[in-house]
């Protein structure tokens, strides 16, 4: 029988994977995707809880999260393009202008 905890564990695993991507990748695009993963993990737990509590507020919340994710992707990718145009790289470890 599938219960809330299963979904929560899936979302936890997704979250962990997203963080792994955040920590272990140097390519900005992939890091972005990892962030999307994080957002989706949270969404999943939101919706699981909304199902569990029979309250659709959670779905609304994840709706907003999706909206935010869309905005974030638009701006972030624009930034990536700008960075690539100016510095010719998307590797995060090569963006070290502030390092003295």
């Amino acid at each position: 029988m599938i219960g809330l905890q299963h979904y929560l564990i899936v979302s936890a695993i997704l979250f962990a994977i997203g963080m792994a991507g955040l920590i272990l990748r140097r390519n900005i695009l992939v890091i972005f995707m990892s962030i999307e993963l994080l957002l989706n993990a949270t969404n999943l737990s939101f919706i699981a809880f909304s199902r569990f509590r029979g309250d659709m507020g959670g779905q609304v919340a994840s709706f907003f999260v999706i909206a935010v994710a869309a905005a974030e992707a638009a701006v972030g990718l624009a930034i990536v393009i700008a960075i690539f145009r100016n510095r010719g790289t998307v590797k995060i470890n090569e963006l070290d202008l502030m390092k003295n």
Partner: protein, 645 residues
Amino acid sequence: MYPLYLIPLMPLIGAVINGMIALAFARKSSKAPEALVSFLAVLFPLASFAFVLAAVWPFLFQDVSAPRIETLFQWMASGNFKLDFALRMDRLSAIMAMVVTGVGSLIHIYSTGYMRGDKGFARYFSYLNLFLFAMILLILGNNLLVLFIGWEGVGLCSYLLIGFWFEDPAKASAGKKAFIVNRIGDFGFLFALFIISSILLKNSDAASSGIFNFATLEEHKALLAPMATVICLLLFLGACGKSAQIPLYVWLPDAMAGPTPVSALIHAATMVTAGVYMVARLSFLYDLAPFAREVVASVGAITAFFAATIGLAQRDIKKVLAYSTVSQLGFMFLGVGIGANVAGIFHLMTHAFFKACLFLGSGSVIHALHGEQDIFKMGGLRKHLPVTFWTFLICTIAIAGIPPFAGFFSKDEILWQAFSRGYTLQWALAFATAGITAFYMFRLVSLTFFGKSRVDHHTLEHLHKPSFTMDFPLIILALLAMTAGFLGVPEALGGHNILHHWLNLEGGVVSEHAESENFERLLAGASVGWAVLCTSISLFLFTKKWNAVGRFVEKVKGAYTLIYHKYYVDEIYDALIVRPVNWFSRVILWKGVDAGVIDGIGVNGSAKATEFLGRLFGLLQNGMANSYALYFVMGMVLIVWWIVH
């Protein structure tokens, strides 16, 4: 039965519309359509006047005495403090409202002629309408806060209008001066409000009925009794600021920088009387504080005398009128101070009529002489400006207190009340003042209109004949100045003091002398004689024995210069208050507190601390962005652990 809010609404609409027009034409080179603007500007005050009459009708002719209160909306409600935005129409408000809207309308009409061709035409009228709105609010407000809105509103408008020709720095600074001096008074007023609220909010049923409502205050004045003196004095401080009493009168003479109709409306007829109105309105509070009454009366009397003496030596026609206004206000305060509210209000009304008329007359003169204000450069205008002359003369007689014109009755009422209530000292001062008033007023008249002309021919040839719109209000006001007195003929003189009975608003302790009847007649006679004496002296001197005056002045050079420089009050204030404050704020506040404490310790200190911490944590910043993510995740894991266990 029209709702009351129409009365203030009308001028507000006018102000908004004219303001729109002014804005619309502000950038353009073309000027606003004067005909339209003047039409609107006059229409709305008249409409407001009409509504006032409609509202006052029952009080006048149907013998209604219960105040009529209309609540527009609940203004604020926080905790047990709640306040309605309510208007109140009772007999006191009625008489004030009639004076304000009536004289106001007349002065609007006058202004349409006086301001013709000014490039701020629409702006001027929007301000003027706005002033009327605020003044009506002040009068009709049912509680102290609504009154305070009006109080501040008229302050603002007077600031705007004094500095109307703001290109001239002197005039702009005069506006600022008026504003700042008023701030001091308003501080007192506000403080009084705080005290009242702090006392009354403790009492539940007072709070439930809105603590600032006049009715509530009167009902619960027992609670206020212990603090009454303080409250009253603070309120009176506000009144001093608004109504130009010692020590805060200094702004009024400078306020003459504004257009003359403004001086007439705001600085003679209506705004400056707000303080008097307020004291009369809160008479029941002052009854609790005899000392405050004492102070008010004395201040009024002293101011009256003081300003009158200054008025003796001024050369600027408007300045003379300004000081006479101050001294007349002193009279009013004497009246309300001793608790003879009716007398005070009565004098307020008559003064509104004749002083407005005088100012407008002076305005006509100045207008005619292309802005010349020095009375030593005038003279002999009798022939050229007949209407102005006659109206001016009538009002001068009125102010000099010569029967049967209005001034006599009102002033004499005050004097008599002062005497009969045993304020002998104040009475003596006021009595002297009455004479001086007559003296300098007739000096003014004779220097302006009699004698031979000292105006240069060029100006005399192209004299601006005042248009009908300028003459008409003069005539009306002069008529009022003649007749208004009969509202308050005391019984002693065979009248039966209608106003007194109608208004029925006595405060203080009334101690009638036994032989009062005859004694009152005696006093009246005395003051008449005194007034006539001074009048004739001054007429004689300033028309016939011109050089004698000169010689006399030479003799008392010192005193003359002292008076001529207004007792150096401005300089004294400058030395005692302005300079120290400047020094304090520059050296202590700026150099010390701001630069030293706030910048030094606060800003730079926190910056330094931040920098230190930054250097500390900077060690973590190894430029490998992923590791930052790692730190973040570590923190999060810790949080999760904490939640779990």
